[in-house]
Point group: C2
Chain length 108, copies 2
Amino acid sequence: MDLIFKALADATRREMLDKLLDQPGLTLGDLIAGTEMRRQSASKHVQILEAAGLVVTEWQGREKKHFLNPVPIQEINRRWVDKYSRTRADAILNLKQALEAGSTGKRK
Amino acid sequence: MDLIFKALADATRREMLDKLLDQPGLTLGDLIAGTEMRRQSASKHVQILEAAGLVVTEWQGREKKHFLNPVPIQEINRRWVDKYSRTRADAILNLKQALEAGSTGKRK
DNA sequence: TTGACATGCAGTTGTTTAACTGCATGTTTA
DNA sequence: TAAACATGCAGTTAAACAACTGCATGTCAA
């Protein structure tokens, strides 16, 4: 779970996932096309995404095709985001009270 | 958006959010109770959570009460997770083909 | 009004991270 | 089989991060 959150914490990696969502099967070369990034940097990012299970790869000859795996993200949604969406009524009430008290987060 | 993902990337901070979900209004002292962490470290984490909008605070005298704000997490769900949950059929097909080809991600 | 308390802010240090360069390995094609 | 190609792996470096210590500021209670 920690690996997934860490992987998603980087904007470059989120952009990679976006590309793979639109165009499944891109190679490493495809992924860096149009960017300033070196091949080796992108490769490291892919490793992190693979370790988190967010990207699955398949070798075809000398090319490595990359595919987005949406399951871990759905996992986050199910096991984590849902919990906070179902915020209990009293918690929301407390938050509202804090906000309505004119709280700015700054000490008076 | 980047601030939210970065804030969620740390396990300590996710635990803080869990505590605030269960017990709205905890102080900094409450948050570090039972942990090895120093007050100052926890304070830094809270700053990061506040900057991401995940935590809202209210001063009551010399105490600072902390509240979870579920809105940014719901934002992530709406603007980001949904996109990957609605993965297009052909993308899933491509992924399945990659997996069924016995791909281990390792070069043959 | 003074001492205990809750927190903030500044600075230090060790670890992690992300970029790079250089070289190695396996694959296709002429 | 040799050259061009796609990628991997190792090592370096600079920036970001997370923990700490020490000191300052504002609040409560005797």
